[in-house]
Each structure stands twice: as C-alpha cells, then as structure tokens.
C-alpha cells in the first residue's frame, strides 16, 4: 500500500471528474472500515446504513488495517463524544438553507427563551473537543457561537433563500471584522528550536519574516478576537522562546501572568498593580 498511487494523480483526478467516474481504492475502503468500527459511527449513520456499509466493505476487502495497534496518540485530549446527536440535524438544515428556532442554556445553565435565526457553520475545536454552532441571531442581527452541548432544542423554520444568503454574508463580514493581528518575535537564542516553535504556531494563520542581519524570526499571527485566550496559552506554553511585540492587551496579560505566578511562589513584593484599564477577568488557560 502506498499513498503515492498513480490513481491519485492530479491529472487522473481531473479526467475522472470529466467522465463523471468514481474511483475508490482498497486503502480508502479499509480506512472507512476502520472508522466505521469507531463507536462514533453509530451516532453518525442510521443502524441500517451502518449495517449495509459494514457488510459491503467487510466482505470484499482482504484484511483490516493493523494501523490502530501501531499508532500511539500522545498528549491528546480525552474525547467525551465526537459526534453530537444534533450534528446531523443541524448540518442538514444548513445544506437545505433552512432557518431555525433555538433554545439554549447560558454558561451558568440558565435556559434562555426561544430565539430565531439561521444556522451558519459547525465548528469543532480540536483543543476543547467540543462542537459549536455559529449562527445568525435574527433579533440582534449578529453572530452567535453556541456549544452544541448547550442547545436544548432546535426546530426547523422555513426562511427564504435570499434571507439565508444575506444572513450568511452578514456573518462572514462580522467574522472578518473580528480578525486581529499580533506580532511574535522568536528570541534568537532559541533559533535552534525554530522547528518546534513554528510547529506550535502552525495551527494558526500566520506569516513569518526572517531578518538575516539580526538572525531574528518574527511571526505575524491572524486570529479571531475570541481566540486571544488560546493564543495566550500558546505563548505561555512556549515560555521564554517567544515574546509578543505589538499587542498591548496580550503584553499586559503576559506580564500579569508572570507576576501572579511569581506571587504564587511567594514573590508578592514584585507584584505591581495592573496599570491596564481593562478590567477583563483573566481567563487564563481557557
């Protein structure tokens, strides 16, 4: 088995598409069979479909992959459940461009009154192992992010295609407005660890600059405003290797984290009062 197969070649792919033909290899089917053994499959597919697929795939392909026994996963998050029961329903609503009526709870568990809107996208956080629904709130005309776990009930509500598309366009704009930038400098003493540092940031939208004279790398990150906490946790993760140079709030938070940490170790004399007028509660490690 080889991932570099003639059949996967880009010209092949284009020509198959032209002919409207489907070419699935044994290794793809084996991968699918391996995934169908995952307990999540039962939440994703109806028992009937699952049966049909298992029978059809299990009969024809020579053997199961032993990959599962060879791969060890490290430092991952425990996954409570990957396929949320509402995932199918919500995805179908988005595909059909339908509106919805939604009841969900707040962070403290309080059940909010029913709201109407348009489902936009389903987002999975690989870090928190949690699904979120991004949706358009009709009343506030704004982007909402709700954990699927917090959704109490959701019902389909017809809306015009025009309204759906308009809502989606509004949300795309609002997301664009929430974009932030931060410049992060790699301390040249740690250039030997460049690979590790760049790997750690490779999950973000980034551009890297290199100044040969000073042998200094700077990373310009682009991220959504509500992801600041995650960027901060990455910065603390990397510790002395990197420094934010241009984002006042993040600089303030890094200083605060250092001072508060030192206070934990009994260096409270070093703690200066925060000068920053931002009274945001530190949500470290969120």
């Amino acid at each position: 088995m080889n991932l570099f197969e003639k059949i996967f070649n880009y010209r092949m792919m284009a020509q198959l598409e032209e002919h409207g033909a489907l070419a699935v290899t044994a290794q793809e089917r084996r991968w699918l069979l391996m995934m169908l053994e995952h307990p999540e499959a039962a939440a994703a597919l109806s028992p009937d479909t699952l049966d049909k697929l298992r029978q059809c795939l299990g009969g024809s392909d020579e053997r199961n992959d032993s990959l599962r026994s060879i791969i060890v996963e490290k430092a991952g998050s425990a996954v409570p459940s990957l396929y949320h029961p509402l995932l199918r329903t919500l995805r179908q609503m988005i595909v059909k461009k339908s509106g919805m009526q939604l009841r969900h709870t707040r962070k403290d568990g309080f059940l909010l009154p029913s709201q109407t809107g348009v489902p936009y996208k389903l987002e999975y956080s690989m870090v928190k192992r949690e699904w979120y629904l991004l949706w358009y709130n009709r009343r506030t005309r704004s982007l909402m992010t709700t954990r699927l776990r917090s959704i109490h009930s959701v019902e389909e509500m017809p809306v015009s295609g025009e309204f759906f598309n308009q809502a989606a366009a509004t949300l795309a704009q609002q997301l664009e407005k929430r974009m932030q930038h931060a410049t992060i400098e790699i301390i040249p003493d740690y250039n030997k660890e460049l690979s590790r540092i760049l790997y750690a940031f490779s999950c973000f939208d980034k551009q890297v600059q290199y100044d040969e004279l000073s042998d200094t790398y700077t990373i310009k990150l682009t991220f959504l405003g509500d992801e600041t906490e995650y960027v901060l946790s990455k910065l603390r993760f990397l510790g002395l290797r990197v420094r934010v140079t241009d984002h006042p709030y993040m600089k303030f938070r890094m200083r605060e984290a250092a001072q508060k940490s030192l206070a934990r170790y009994g260096y409270s004399s070093a703690l200066e009062t925060a000068e920053h007028d931002n009274s945001v509660m530190s949500a470290e490690a969120e």
Partner: protein, 448 residues
C-alpha cells in the same frame, strides 16, 4: 525503474508551510539542501499540481499564499495535493480514467474495453494494445478500484463502488459528513481526505448539495501533520513483516532537512544527515505540536530509539528479525515509554502541582482542561479554591510547557527542581514584558 521518491517534495512543502514566506529563494534552497535551480523547478511543479487541484483563480497566487492556512475559512487540507503528485504519462492517465469510467455501471471484458478505449482515445495519443489494457486492468484490480466478477471466461470487470452506489441520497450525504469529521479529527487522515474528495464527486453526480466543503470548520489543525503520513505505510509494512528500516536522518536542529541521493559519485556532497538502521515498533502522534514520531530499537548505545518523522528521508526496508526478538524489543519499548508525556525516555519522576480554580467564572474551565488533557494524572485534595494534580512522567521536560500554559492558575510543588525552574522562567518572562521605565529587582536565588 527506480522507485519515485517524494522526499524532496515533502521536505520542501513542510518548510514552506512552517516558515510561511520567511526566506528568499537562496535562503530556502540553502536550508533545504538543494540548489536554487532545483528550488525553482520544484516550486513550478508543485504550483502546477496545486493549481490544478484547487480552483482556477488560485493559479496566479504565490505558492506561500496558496498554502496560507485559513483555518477559519476552509477545512480543505491544502497539503493533500502532495499525494496527487505521482508522475504519470498523459496517455496512461487518459486510458486509466477511460477504463474506470466505462466500468462505472456495467461489467465488461478486456476485449470490450480495448475497443472502447481505441474509440475513445484522442488522436494525438497512442492507441493501446490488448497487453497494455490487461496490465492496466491488473493494476486497477490491485489498487482495488475495479473488481473481477465471479464466473468463467471471458473475465468481466466492474468498478468497485457498490458501497457508494447502493446508498440512498440521504445516506450518501450522511456518509460524506462522517468521512469529513473522521478525516479531520482522527489519525491517520490522508485516505479519509482522498475518500472525501471522491464522495463529493459522487454527490455532485447525483446533484446533491454537499453544503460546501466549509460547512464544518475545524479549529487549530496542524496542517503539516499529513505530510508525515507519507511514511506511515512503509513503516507499517515493515512492522508487520518484522523488518528493519534504514534511512537518512536529519535531526530538527540540523541546518538541512534534505539531501539528494546522487548516483554519480563525482557529485556527492557531504550531508548533515546520519544513516540509521533500526527496528520499527510503533509510531506516535503528538497532539501538542501535531508531529509524528517513529519509535523502535537500534543497535547503538541508546537502544530504544526515537525519531521525528519530519527528519526521515530515503526510507527503505532492510533485514528481517525473528518474532521473539520483535516481541522482546516491543515489550522493552512499552516499558520505557509507558510514562512518557510524549516520547521522553528519562527517569520517571512524580510531578505534583496545585491548580487554582478560576475566580468568579461561571464554569471551572481550569479543571475541565486538566481533566481533558492531563493524560493519566490524578486529581485529589479538591476544595472550592483549588485541587492537586499528581502524575508520574519520564522526565519533566515534556510536561513543562503544558503546565506553564496554565499561567498563574498552576503552582508546581514537586519536584523542587521543576519548581525552581518555573520561578526562574516566570522572573525572566516578567522582564520580557517589563515597561521600559521600571526596573524591578527580583531576588534570583531560586528559593521560595
């Protein structure tokens, strides 16, 4: 014919994705260990492939922009096109696709296919003979794209797509979503992404809306992880057949990451890489950085040997070992890595830390995260304000960044050496962010 190697492309793309535009052509070529000429040639080829795989309007963009990870816009793995780069003659790709297309909804004999092919081939391409068609069919059958129908001669073939064609529209749509989610959240993923592309086409053929490829978003994906999967199957085969592997290894700290295999001894240049022979036993995926490791046994002094997949080039199978030897080495590896936070083989130490619950927050996100990511660590001594976390790990180096990422919500209690390191680092970090006009003196004796 020598086996086509994709080492250069893999190393090239990895560096391109990680350094996102940092280097000039010359700097890039130097660091990769190739000439500027080869750099230009490689980027032209990759751009060609990427351009034809992605939308046409992407064609004029610079390669780095094409690969800029817009994780909030699309869940399409941009590096997947690497696996579409195997070279193939135009006449062959045309012939193979024609064969597959002809077998979509019917079963045909090799001779019937030969006739169809001769009619269907464009004039400028050479007409196939029966031998070619038979060898094509053999290849496609081996790859599992088509299958032979039971029954006597003449043999009949048909496309191996029943598992898709038997599904109703709704079932196909559900399967597409399932494959999308699994490919994006599980390892390995490359075959899942390839399958997803095919299912997308199947839906298009039935005129089903696929809800666009960006209906699901996946946050914080390590995109370069799929490059490492290129070696996964060679390794898996070696493990299964109890064979050793040999390769040219570049440590992440070396200044080069590739060295061309020159057949002419006149042009052989010294390489920073090391030639390694080892017995592969496991592969590990590290979720913290999105990197793969190869774990095994080498006859050198270190014995249990760990290699980063990104440094492996010119990977080939070598000698066989006995079943007993394999089992013994595997047991030794498992013993040595059972307490590795990632892959550290250091001496086991017990790390004890106190985590502080967030004040005034609606949800205890500190505890949630510790439970989610704390691997085999144990939570004890809980009260309203804090809880203890205890874990035995091989060395403290690998767990340290994770603990530090909690900032002041975490206080290291034991071992004392780690506690001292944290104090020292937080002092230095405080200095990084010190307003220039202030100069706070902190005692630096490491006691607290």
């Amino acid at each position: 014919m020598a086996k086509e190697s994709f080492d250069k492309e893999i190393q090239f793309l990895r560096m391109l994705v990680l350094t996102s535009g940092a280097y000039s052509r010359q700097q890039f070529a130097d660091r990769l260990g190739i000439s500027v000429h080869t750099f230009d040639k490689t980027i032209r080829r990759l751009k060609d492939i990427a351009g034809s795989v992605q939308q046409a309007d992407e064609h004029n963009k610079a390669m780095t922009d094409m690969l800029r990870t817009s994780y909030y816009e699309s869940a399409d793995p941009l590096l997947l096109f690497l696996f579409r780069s195997k070279s193939l003659k135009e006449s062959e790709s045309y012939r193979l696709s024609l064969l597959i297309a002809s077998l979509q909804e019917q079963a045909l004999t090799p001779l019937e296919l030969l006739n169809l092919c001769c009619e269907g081939m464009p004039e400028e391409l050479a007409l196939p003979d029966e031998k070619t068609i038979r060898s094509d069919l053999k290849y496609l059958e081996q790859a599992g794209v088509i299958r032979r129908l039971p029954g006597g001669r003449p043999q009949k073939y048909t496309a191996h797509n029943d598992f898709v064609s038997m599904l109703s529209d709704e079932e196909l749509s559900d399967l597409y979503a399932f494959v999308d989610v699994m490919a994006n959240t599980q390892v390995p993923s490359v075959q899942g992404y390839l399958l997803r592309d095919s299912l997308k086409k199947a839906m298009k053929r039935r005129q089903l809306p696929d809800g666009a490829s960006d209906l699901f978003l996946y946050k914080y994906h390590y995109h370069s992880r799929i490059l490492d999967e290129a070696h996964l199957y060679t390794i898996m085969q070696a493990i299964e057949s109890r064979r050793k592997l040999s390769f040219h290894y570049f440590t992440p700290k070396s200044n080069q990451s590739y060295h061309s295999k020159n057949t002419n001894p006149m042009f052989v240049k010294p390489s920073e890489g090391r030639l390694i022979e080892m017995l592969p036993l496991k592969v590990a995926y590290d979720h913290q950085y999105g990197r793969w490791y190869l774990l095994g046994y080498s006859s050198g002094r270190s014995q249990v040997a760990i290699f980063r997949m990104e440094g492996i080039t010119q990977l080939v199978e070598s000698g066989v070992v006995t079943e007993d030897e394999h089992a013994a080495k595997l047991a030794a590896l498992e013993r040595n890595t059972s307490f590795s936070w990632l892959v550290d083989l250091g001496r086991p130490v017990t790390v004890k830390v106190r985590f502080f619950n967030p004040e005034g927050a609606k949800r205890n996100f500190i505890k949630d995260r510790v439970q989610l990511q704390g691997q085999w660590g144990v939570l004890t001594d809980e009260d309203d304000a804090s809880f203890l976390f205890e874990i035995t790990v091989n060395g403290t180096q690998e767990i340290k960044p994770w603990l530090r990422s909690f900032g002041s919500s975490c206080e290291v209690l034991e071992p004392v050496s780690l506690r001292r390191e944290f104090i020292k680092e937080w002092k230095e970090l405080a200095e990084y962010y010190e307003p220039v006009r202030k100069n706070i003196q902190l005692p630096d004796d490491g006691t607290a």
